[in-house]
């Protein structure tokens, strides 16, 4: 197994050496009720492993991009955790001929943590699930994210979301949401009420 690198849980070893039995039992009991914030502290992904995965994703997006999709390679090479993806409205859809830009941001916990994906630039698609600030209401970007999904899968979902649109309009709560939301769409508690549009 040449490419295999072992995971290192940086916090686990430090905790073992201290042997305060009583304190631990108490802490354990407290944790059972949820009174302890985080018994295991922070854990870190193996850096090289997720970097490799991102690099592979970048390569496959270059080699076999979904129709109308091009990734800004130079940008991705300067900062592997921030990509810009150009997207063209597919022929025969309401967005034919339009050009859009998607921004992807990957946290150190990617792919276990979903990437932050928003539309940026001049032209934000007018769509019932896309807010005028570029935030997208799409469940795989938050709740339904799986580490087995990828940038490619997200692009495909967004393309199909755009392609199936029957009427160009903003979400009904657009002006309120845009005024009050956080800059990071992942902080929004989305409720995915209709998946048919």
């Amino acid at each position: 197994m040449p490419m295999f690198t072992k995971l290192a849980h940086k916090t686990s070893t430090a905790a073992k050496s201290s042997g305060q039995t009583a304190a631990k039992t108490a802490a354990a009991a407290a944790a059972a009720k949820g009174n302890v914030t985080s018994p295991a502290g922070k854990h870190f992904l193996d850096n090289t492993r997720w970097q490799k995965r991102l690099q592979k994703e970048l390569m496959s997006l270059l080699k076999e991009p979904p129709p109308g999709v091009t990734v800004d390679v130079d940008q991705a090479h300067t900062k592997l955790t921030e990509w810009v993806v150009h997207m063209e409205g597919a022929a025969g859809t309401l967005y034919e001929g339009e050009k859009f830009q998607l921004q992807f941001k990957f946290s150190p916990k990617y792919p276990f943590d979903s990437p932050e994906v928003i539309f940026v630039g001049e032209n934000i698609p007018i769509h019932p699930h896309i807010y005028s600030n570029g935030h997208i209401c799409l469940s795989i970007l938050t709740e339904d994210w799986s580490p087995a999904l990828s940038v490619q899968a997200i692009c495909l979902s967004i393309i199909s979301m755009l392609s199936s649109c029957k009427e160009k309009k903003r979400p009904p709560d657009n002006s309120y949401y845009v005024k009050t939301c956080s800059a990071n769409p992942k902080k929004t508690k989305w409720w995915y009420h209709d998946d048919t549009v």
Binding site: F4, T21, A28, A32, S38, P39, H43, K52, S146, L149
Partner: protein, 414 residues
């Protein structure tokens, strides 16, 4: 792993073959006489027991064993089913024997144990050299490094471990962690989790999450609400009854608040919420608003200069936000008031104070009630009914707030 002195229960993951293994892998060391240490209590014919965290685990294992003595399915499946039915054994049995079993399994997000083994149905992504590609880390692995669960989804062991750790530590999930594959809702059973997690701290957190959800979804159990108390009360039937914990805290089994006879649980909850909201609202009003010195509507200033013009069409008073005196003598000193000590201004502020007194009175009662509740929590005292007081407050002051708060008539001109 010798965890006797470290943790509440052992999490030995090496004895998968042992026939009596309840799958939980939570084993309590020592005495076999289960339940002997439980503290039995009764208040006027309402029998209940006080359980320690060890007792809770033992009780959980007993529940699983009891079902498994009747139903012949893997213990891990029993656990998921029991959790699905909020640990109501009777309900589970009823559905198991009277209903559509396949439907039951799919509702509980578990693979039917009666289906012929179909793990190989899903063909792993094999590369030419007999290696499999992990769809999470995108690395090629020898098959021995890959782990699949009941639904047939396979990922490398490292990715599984990392995935489960993220769910447990970052998202606080226990019983409800589903498969890592996209749109697969099959739950990862506790046995698999305990086998894949290496870090003892993560294992411990997982066990705690399981215990926590066991108590919280079980209608016959309730945690003692006293801060840092880790006992739970177990009853034979849920009811609005006072129960006393080993820590001497007395609370209502039904709602978990301090015993509140004769007020009904939902009324009490209503009140606590209302008081919380109101004291916040009122504090905000006190800090951020004033009343128009002429017509008395509540106004809120959101930046800008001190020159205010009342928006109430029948008032349209011109005044200064700082001293509340008429604006005219201020002239063009838009941002700083130099008339604070003038008589006119003083009079206006006196009037304001009177009106504020009502708000203060309300706040006083509200805070007193909250403090009262707080001190009760710490002194373990039963408290007399505060119902009349609450109603009194409501009649006198609530209406005042409600009327005033809604009338935001005045704004400074643009």
């Amino acid at each position: 792993m010798d965890s006797d002195e470290e943790y509440l229960y052992d999490c030995d993951s090496g004895n998968e073959s042992s026939g009596d293994d309840v799958g939980l892998e939570f084993e309590i060391e020592g005495e076999g006489e289960s339940g002997s240490s439980r503290y039995r209590e009764t208040t006027e014919n309402y029998p209940y027991e006080v359980l320690s965290t060890e007792d809770i685990t033992r009780h959980m294992i007993d529940c699983i064993k009891e079902v498994n003595s009747v139903v012949n399915i893997p213990v891990t499946t029993t656990r998921i089913l029991l959790n699905h039915f909020k640990w109501d054994k009777e309900k589970l049995m009823e559905r198991f024997y009277d209903g559509d079993q396949e439907k039951l399994f799919s509702e509980a997000h578990v693979v039917s144990p009666f289906k012929t083994p179909s793990k190989s149905q899903r063909v792993p992504v094999k590369t030419s050299n007999g290696m499999e590609e992990c769809e999470i880390c995108f690395l090629n692995m020898p098959s021995a490094m890959m782990t699949g669960i009941e639904c047939g989804h396979r990922f490398c062991t490292n990715c599984w471990t990392e995935y489960l750790t993220t769910k447990i530590i970052d998202e606080g999930m226990g019983q409800t962690i589903s498969c890592a594959a996209h749109s697969c809702s099959i739950l990862v059973d506790d046995h698999t989790v305990m086998r894949l997690i290496v870090d003892p701290k993560v294992k411990l957190k997982y066990q705690h999450l399981i215990t926590k959800s066991f108590v919280e979804c079980n209608r016959l159990l309730r945690w003692c609400p006293y801060p840092d108390c880790n006992y739970a009360i177990k009853v034979q039937y849920p009811d609005v009854q006072p129960v006393m914990c080993k820590c001497r805290n007395v609370f209502c089994f039904n709602c978990g608040e301090n015993w509140h006879d004769p007020v009904k649980c939902h009324l009490l909850r209503h009140w606590i919420k209302k008081c919380d909201d109101d004291s916040e609202t009122s504090n905000w009003i006190a800090a951020n608003t004033k009343e128009c010195p002429k017509c008395k509507v509540t106004i809120e200033k959101d930046g800008g200069c001190n020159h205010m013009v009342c928006k109430n069409q029948s008032c349209k008073a011109d005044f200064c936000w700082v001293c509340l005196g008429p604006w005219e003598p201020h002239g063009s000193s838009w941002y700083s008031c130099n008339r604070y000590d003038e008589d006119e201004a003083k009079q206006a502020r006196d009037a304001q104070e009177k009106s504020r007194a009502a708000l203060q009175r309300y706040l006083f009662y509200c805070n007193r009630y909250m403090n009262h509740m707080q001190s009760l929590k710490f002194e373990h005292k039963l408290y007399a009914s505060v119902k009349e007081k609450m109603e009194e407050m409501q009649q006198h002051n609530m209406s005042w707030i409600e009327v005033q708060f809604l009338k935001k008539g005045c704004r400074h001109p643009v």
